[in-house]
Amino acid sequence: MSKGTIIGLVIAAILVFWGISARNGMATSDQTVKSKWANVQSAYQRRSDLIPNLVKTVQGAANFEKSTITDVINARAGATQMKLDASDLTPENIQKFQAAQSQLSGSLSRLMAVAESYPQLKATQNFSELQAQLEGTENRIKTERDVFNGAVQDFNSNVVKFPNSLIASFSGFKEKGYFEADASAQKAPTVDFPK
């Protein structure tokens, strides 16, 4: 073997090793994003699970506005239908998911606002604890979304930058979507009662 071939082989070997380690790095951060996504989903699930209880409590109050309750029930149905698999976290899908959830956020916060004008309802221990749970759930959602966004940022900067982007396109890693602070979510914490 000539000197040239040896040098060529060494360079090729270095490239292969670099490629493998870059790909492994992406796979690891891909897994991280997926596990954080699971946390995001369970935080949303938690909110969804609270709603039947909340609805029941609110319905117990004499002549509580029917339309706000129906809104919440419909929005919940819409949000639970919107399932998003961890392997499919494209920016468009995240946006759709977020839209469905923020509709629920909106109708929930309207419900809580309406409840403010029912003093008897507000005075019950049951309602005030549901309120605390709902507030905690919104906080969890916020926390998990932030963590998820952080993981996505790591992943994306790993995948998008050259020369990693070459490896990413070979191995099918695509940029993932973020949660954006949407207008209705910023209004949502009407729930946050006496902080």
């Binding site: 005030s128 507030e135 905690g136 906080n139 969890r140 998990e144 006496p194």
Partner: protein
């Protein structure tokens, strides 16, 4: 020498990042009263109570008293403290933070991920509304904190066990430090006295410097890998928080 400097530098950089929230006092304490709302006896009693509970159950309940939460919502502020200081054991996430902002009259309980089961949000709210609020409104601050922490103890009892003294892993950096330490000792011995890099640095200098540094770091880290410090000796280092994290559980209120 360079490595030690690098470590020290790293330490300061870490502290600078956490500037928005009060830096964790050194030596770390379970009760952090930054506005001196409690008198010396009350503060010490509460501190010992929290330490005792930590030592027997590994559950870390920290009380933090600040003037206000700055530009932050009490929740965000508390979360930042919780996750920066790492209240609760790493992996167990069994920490609880009770935050009190005196100027804005805000109370906030934040539960670690695994403490949420024993103290769900509704219970946290109840602790604030039925224990802390009435006590604080009549200026019985110590009483409120004492009863609130007792209530938390009762709810958390049986949830978590004390750490076994051995059987937990020693973190990598401790091993590295010990290896460095041994290396420097051998290096120092083989080189004998002086002559290396200027006259000031001689064997006894190096020999003294490393053990003191390492032993002081060792004691500050010992708690995090589960050695049992008695904590009974008064205002000494309890070993620091364990590195737990919170997912945002808890409740807030004002009084």
């Amino acid at each position: 020498m360079f490595l030690v400097k690098a470590f020290i530098l790293l330490f300061f950089v870490n502290q600078a990042i956490a500037q928005d929230i009060p830096p964790q006092p050194n030596p770390p304490r379970m009760l952090n009263d930054f506005v001196m709302k409690l008198n010396g006896v009350e503060a010490e009693t509460l501190e010992q109570k929290l330490r005792g509970y930590r030592d027997s159950t590994s559950t870390e309940i920290s009380v933090v008293i600040v003037k206000n939460t700055g530009d932050y919502d009490p929740f965000d502020y508390g979360m930042k403290i919780f996750n920066t200081w790492g209240i609760g054991k790493k992996g167990k996430n069994n920490g609880v933070l009770l935050l009190w902002a005196t100027e804005t009259r805000k109370l906030r309980i934040i539960t670690g991920r695994a403490a949420e089961g024993a103290i769900p949000d509704a219970i946290a709210k109840r602790i604030i509304n039925t224990i802390l609020k009435p006590a604080f409104q009549s200026n019985q601050f110590y009483l409120g904190l004492d009863e609130a922490t007792t209530e938390m103890f009762q709810r958390l009892t049986g949830e978590f066990k004390a750490d076994a003294v051995d059987g937990e892993e020693i973190p990598f950096w401790v091993i590295l430090l010990v290896m460095l330490f041994i290396f420097f000792i051998i290096y120092g011995i083989s080189k004998g006295g002086g002559g290396r890099g200027g006259g000031r640095r001689n064997y006894s200098d190096g020999g003294m410097f490393f053990p003191t540094t390492i032993s002081s770091w060792g004691s500050s880290s010992s708690g995090s890998w589960g050695s049992s410090d008695s904590g009974g000796g008064g205002g000494f280092d309890f070993g620091g928080f364990g590195g737990g994290e919170s997912g945002g559980g808890g409740a807030g209120g004002d009084y």
